[in-house]
């Protein structure tokens, strides 16, 4: 009952700060809805220049073929090798193709790529070598994401980001505010215990997190056409709930170590947000990480979330495959919460 009273008080606090409420509600929608459309990895209308030494029908055909594809666009001829550097720096070309004099006798094509944008040049390299060779000499297909729909791919990572920002910062900020403004002293005078106060404060934010889960789910459904079957939906909401709880606890843990709001913000960004973005397999796959950090990266809440999400939603994996993720999130949450409560009891009013 006491927990509910505190929850009610906290809900009123959240409701009355209109700007924060607006941002809280809109944030996941913006992150998932906008960025889901941005983080694609397809090529479109890349400009290239050609230095044609052979000037034959064969070479013109090759250039035309590339020009007519939707990925590439012919942007002009070069006349000497010395112009190549300038084509990149001044004309902003994406790549330069040098056609040898004896193309038909099997002299190699030379392709110059721009290493200052490696992601782009890697994609160019792969696409070009397939186009010029006329396809792969074998059959292939992709499992789980058969059309290689790139808009679905960043989805788990974006959902993770949206949840972690809101959850880790929200509750920790609110606890810290009470502490800084002195109202925490008043709260502790009430019959509620420290655990009850924190649990009460957490309830409204957990409700907000579940709303975020719902909005994210609706966006992936209507905007990206992601179809999830019923058992996975239940799993998704359970995962959202557990992950938000876990992030809140990590946020609280940071709050138990710092004093001011600025410190808390920096702590949450540097030690919760940034590691979970970079080491969770969202931007770089886990397999390309250094062996030094790999053991830690595997157990980051972020990577547990992404792996479990992919398993549940993309692969339709069974419970025994994904239960590890749930279990680890729970264990981490319980352990960190115990430490946090201990620290709070010792130095809640430390100055």
């Amino acid at each position: 009952m006491r927990v509910l009273d505190i929850a009610k008080k906290e809900a009123v606090c959240v409701y009355r700060d209109k700007l924060s409420l607006f941002i809280l509600v809109v944030l996941p929608v913006v992150i998932v809805g906008v960025l889901g459309n941005v983080l694609r990895f397809e090529l479109l209308d890349l400009e290239f220049a050609v230095l044609d030494n052979s000037k034959s029908v064969l070479s013109r055909n090759l250039v035309n073929e590339l020009d007519q594809s939707k990925q590439f666009e012919f942007a002009g001829d070069l006349f000497s090798l010395s112009q190549i550097g300038g084509a990149f720096v001044k004309e902003n070309m994406d790549f330069v193709m040098v056609i040898p004099r004896d193309l038909d006798r099997g002299e190699p094509l030379q392709l110059f790529l721009d290493g200052s944008d490696l992601v782009l040049s890697e994609a160019v390299m792969q696409t070009l070598s397939v186009m010029i060779a006329g396809g792969y000499p074998f059959e292939f297909h992709f499992k789980y994401n058969a059309q290689l729909k790139s808009e679905l791919v960043p989805l788990p990572g974006l959902v993770m980001i949206a949840l972690i920002i809101v959850s880790s910062i929200m509750l920790a900020m609110s606890v810290n505010r009470e502490r800084e403004s002195g109202t925490a002293k008043l709260l502790l005078l009430t019959p509620a215990s420290m655990g009850q106060i924190i649990a009460g404060k957490a309830i409204p934010y957990l409700v907000i997190s579940l709303l975020h889960g719902l909005s994210v789910f609706l966006i992936s459904w209507f905007m990206f056409g992601l179809v999830i079957d019923f058992t996975s939906v239940a799993g998704f909401f359970m995962l959202t709930f557990l992950f938000s709880l876990n992030s809140m606890i990590f946020g609280l843990f940071i709050a138990s170590l710092v004093k001011s709001e600025l410190e808390l913000l920096i702590g949450c960004w540097l030690f919760v947000f940034v590691p979970n973005v970079f080491f969770s397999g969202f931007i770089y796959p886990l397999q390309s990480m250094s062996h030094l950090v790999l053991p830690v990266a595997r157990f980051m809440p972020g990577s547990l979330f992404i792996e479990t999400y992919k398993g549940l939603v993309f692969r339709g994996a069974s419970w025994d495959v994904v239960s590890d993720g749930f279990l680890w999130l729970l264990i981490q949450g319980v352990v960190v919460f115990a430490v946090t409560l201990f620290l709070f009891k010792r130095n809640f009013f430390r100055k």
Binding site: L43, P108, G115, S121, A133, E139, K143, Y144, E261, L270
Partner: protein
């Protein structure tokens, strides 16, 4: 002039006497630049399985060829296709190569398309190189194709963006919340001088950050600057103009630190995800690519890459620098008007 110097000195003292802020300024870049590159240091390591129901002689040859390639972490032979697929379901395999008398068939895990396409490309190169039309690829400007050098440039910009905007926004909002600004209003200090003093001070802090970051990258990762150092500094000073302006705008429109934090978070995430740090313009939908015109982070990253990798001169950079200045003027003007009224 004397007042301006006094304002700058006040900011300096505030920073030096606050241990946490000092930590943020000195250690944050080093921590971020030291830790984050660990997340992409190794080249991508693929885990392949080879399936051959007919038990032909080619299998051992294939396993040998693939495992010679350092890009493959493990190459195993699994005779039963169902078992290989179960391994892939559990996320332990990136690709399965079925070999039969009819030819090859490759199945890839599509949940990370860039990785899948890369695996396809590498497998093709390793196993079927000889049948292809000869093409030689040259990479200019970062000829070793070193991913950490490529990412470090954008990380430096990320660090400056985080630290710069967070410092200035929270500095302004905190002075307002604690009532300090109210007191300063009753002194001879002009609003413009106050605004300018802060601005100049934070430009110096950010410059310090840039030099620290570049030095760290040079010493630890061996990042070479192809352009001139002076050009890099000029590019960055121009970049701070819209960046700090953005911080001011957020500060001017938020009443409490909490609101400032939320606004800062949402704006920074949008800006960093919409720039070319993790993706490239030609793969974005057009409306998203068009947001680059109002995104200072995009110009910060592109111009840094131009200088450090391509050795661009100021003449090459002029359009970008000009646009950044325009953005800066608009943002700072908006912030100042709002700031004076508040």
């Amino acid at each position: 002039m004397r007042l301006l110097i006094a304002t700058i000195y006040k900011e300096y003292l505030q920073l030096v006497r606050n241990k946490v802020l000092l930590f943020l300024v000195m250690a944050c870049p080093v921590i971020l630049l030291g830790i984050i590159p660990l997340s992409f240091d190794g080249s991508t390591r693929f885990r392949a399985a080879i399936c051959d129901s007919e038990g032909s002689y080619r299998v051992s040859e294939l396993v040998g060829e693939l495992s010679l390639n350092p890009l493959f972490e493990s190459v195993v032979f699994i005779p039963v296709p169902e078992e290989a697929e179960a391994q892939m379901d559990a996320g332990r395999l990136d690709l399965i190569i079925y070999s039969s008398s009819a030819g090859f068939q490759i199945i890839l895990d599509g949940t990370f398309p860039r990785r899948a396409l890369n695996a396809l490309h590498v497998t093709d190169k390793t196993l079927f190189e000889k049948n292809q039309v000869p093409v030689v690829f040259h990479t200019m400007f970062n000829s070793g194709r070193r991913y950490n050098h490529y990412s470090l440039i954008s990380l430096i910009v990320l660090v400056i963006t985080l630290v710069g905007t967070a410092l200035i926004t929270l500095n302004v909002v905190r002075e307002r919340e604690s009532g300090l600004e109210e007191q300063l209003r009753s002194t001879v200090l002009d609003r413009f001088v106050y605004f300018l003093g802060k601005f100049i001070f934070f430009v110096f802090i950010c410059l310090f950050e840039v030099v620290l970051c570049l030095l760290f990258c040079r010493l630890v990762y061996g990042l070479e600057n192809q352009g001139s150092f002076a050009n890099y500094l000029i590019v960055n000073v121009v970049f701070f103009f819209p960046l700090l302006g953005l911080g001011y705008v957020i500060a001017a429109f938020s009443r409490t630190q909490l609101q400032a934090v939320y606004m800062l978070t949402i704006v920074l995430i949008l800006l960093t995800m919409l720039c070319t740090m993790f993706t490239h313009l030609s793969s974005m939908p057009q409306w998203a690519a068009a947001t680059r015109f109002v995104n200072p982070v995009y110009y910060g990253i592109e111009s840094s890459r131009m200088v450090i990798f391509k050795g661009a001169t100021l003449a090459n950079l002029a359009p970008m620098l000009g646009w950044m200045l325009c953005l800066g003027v608009v943002l700072n003007a908006v912030a100042f008007v709002r700031f004076r009224k508040a």
